[in-house]
């Protein structure tokens, strides 16, 4: 279904049309979400205004997992169909994904201070997010440590896939570990039910983060395609004047 977009030119044409739409959706929904979330949504009964961190925290955590799922899916596509743009998409998703994970951890810490009374708690979710950040670090380090992108891509695919299979195991073991060491009476930052006035800004922020992620990945892939064109162009460039010295630039 997507195989026609493995042609870089076709993909580039699509991405060129799609990325301003993505950015527009991001700008609009982020504006709506932030204004409603920060000014017009009600404060929570116990957490007061600190509950507003939710509007930047929850979508970040969601995208942290979503981005890694995207990387694993793209790696699988690249592994099975040798779809070279899928590798580029997976690579472009790594930095935004790690940034969302770091943002989720940071906003979690800022939220934790008034809620739990500590910047960092070895809560099951925080701990598994921290391990997810390490998974992103490992994935990015593999891309960094190989000069030749095509070679790096093959190692990165393997790591992304084996790491993805391992995620449920990590989640399970961290939950178990946490239940042994910590009393279960923590005041959970998310209440049992969320009122509609909070759901609307929360969902706009979810859409905003997703659109931002899409825009970043598209831009990253387009930059990679442009870079490859430039390298190919450079390889061809010097041979022309040597092969046919009489042909000037105007004739070409």
């Amino acid at each position: 279904m997507f195989s026609q977009f493995s042609n870089p030119a076709k993909f580039d044409a699509l991405a060129q049309r799609l990325s301003p739409i993505m950015f527009g959706v991001f700008a609009l929904t982020a504006f709506i979400g932030l204004v409603m979330g920060l000014f017009f949504s009600p404060a929570e009964k116990y957490q007061l205004d600190s509950v507003r961190i939710m509007y930047v925290h929850v979508p970040a955590a969601w995208m942290a997992l979503g981005a890694y799922t995207f990387i694993a899916a793209m790696s699988l596509v690249a592994f099975v169909w040798r779809h070279s743009l899928a590798d580029l998409a997976a690579r472009s998703a790594a930095v935004p994904g790690a940034a969302f994970t770091a943002l989720a951890l940071f906003t979690g810490a800022v939220w934790g201070k008034p809620t739990w009374g500590a910047w960092w708690v070895w809560d099951a979710r925080l701990t598994s997010m921290l391990i997810l950040l390490f998974i992103y670090f490992g994935y990015m380090a593999v891309w960094q440590s190989v000069q030749e992108p095509a070679r790096a891509a093959r190692f990165a695919r393997l790591l992304a896939l084996v790491g993805f299979i391992n995620i449920p195991i990590i989640k399970f073991s961290v939950d178990w570990w946490n239940s042994l060491h910590q009393p279960a009476s923590i005041l959970r930052p998310d209440g049992p039910s969320i009122h509609v006035s909070m759901l609307i800004p929360l969902f706009s922020m979810l859409i905003a983060y997703t659109a931002l992620f899409g825009w970043l990945v598209l831009t990253g892939v387009r930059a990679d395609i442009a870079e490859q064109k430039r390298i190919v162009g450079q390889r061809r460039a010097p041979s022309r004047p040597i092969a046919s010295p009489d042909v000037g630039e105007g004739a070409a």
Partner: protein
């Protein structure tokens, strides 16, 4: 398939000969384990009750790092001198080669660590009888760490970053083993119960890694030859 078994044995025999010859350094993993535990004890302080409380964590961390580091250059020699390329051209699959390396790590690095664990634990103020049972827990849990170490060594073998990168990649895989290894050891030391649910999950982790890692490790080895 019939050729696989002698092939595994041949690679293993060669590697064990290399490890045990003069300068082969088979004892490095064991020394690292002992040095790590001693440094941890020095950092924690001489009070035996504090040391005994930290003993399970020290035991599993020391074992995990010792195995991870001893696997770091496990494919290095064969990649550099072309042995792995020749084997890959000649053999239908690199599975026997992978198996030989796993058994090598188990025999040369993990087994001495498991056997030395009761001595180290006794020095950390844990009773001798439960210390001996810790050998069984290590025998159940260390296979998972060995398989992860071999996988990450294979992934890092084609990259020039080496051991540190392999350790970073291994961390998310090692975390569940540490969780259940340490809690199973805690239960053993506190209640004397060896076959707790944690021990069974630790065994499940070893089996899971045995199912998950061979394909990926062999694929990574083949990539490093390209």
């Amino acid at each position: 398939m019939s050729a696989a078994k002698p092939f595994t044995q041949a690679v293993l025999a060669r590697d064990i000969k290399i490890a045990f010859r003069s300068g082969g350094g088979w004892f490095y993993a064991l020394f690292f384990f002992a040095v790590f535990a001693a440094l941890a004890a020095i950092a924690i302080g001489p009070e035996l009750s504090a040391l005994a409380a930290a003993a399970p964590a020290v035991l599993w961390l020391a074992a995990a790092f010792a195995i991870q580091f001893s696997a770091a250059d496990i494919f290095e020699g064969d990649l550099r001198d072309g042995t792995l390329r020749a084997l890959s051209a000649e053999q239908a699959s690199l599975f026997p080669y992978w198996l030989a390396k796993v058994i090598l790590l188990a025999a040369v690095s993990a087994a001495p660590i498991a056997l030395a664990a009761p001595f180290v634990l006794s020095m950390l103020g844990v009773g001798v009888d439960v210390s001996l049972n810790a050998i069984i827990l290590l025998a159940i849990g260390l296979p998972a760490l060995i398989l992860v170490a071999v996988l990450t060594a294979a992934l890092a073998s084609g990259l020039r970053a080496g051991g540190l990168l392999a350790t970073i990649i291994a961390a998310p895989f090692a975390a569940p083993v540490l969780v259940f290894g340490v809690s199973a050891t805690n239960i053993l030391f506190a209640n004397g119960v060896l076959w707790s649910p944690e021990t069974l999950i630790l065994m499940a982790l070893s089996l899971f890694m045995a199912a998950l890692t061979p394909g990926f490790a062999i694929a990574a080895l083949q990539l490093s030859l390209e």
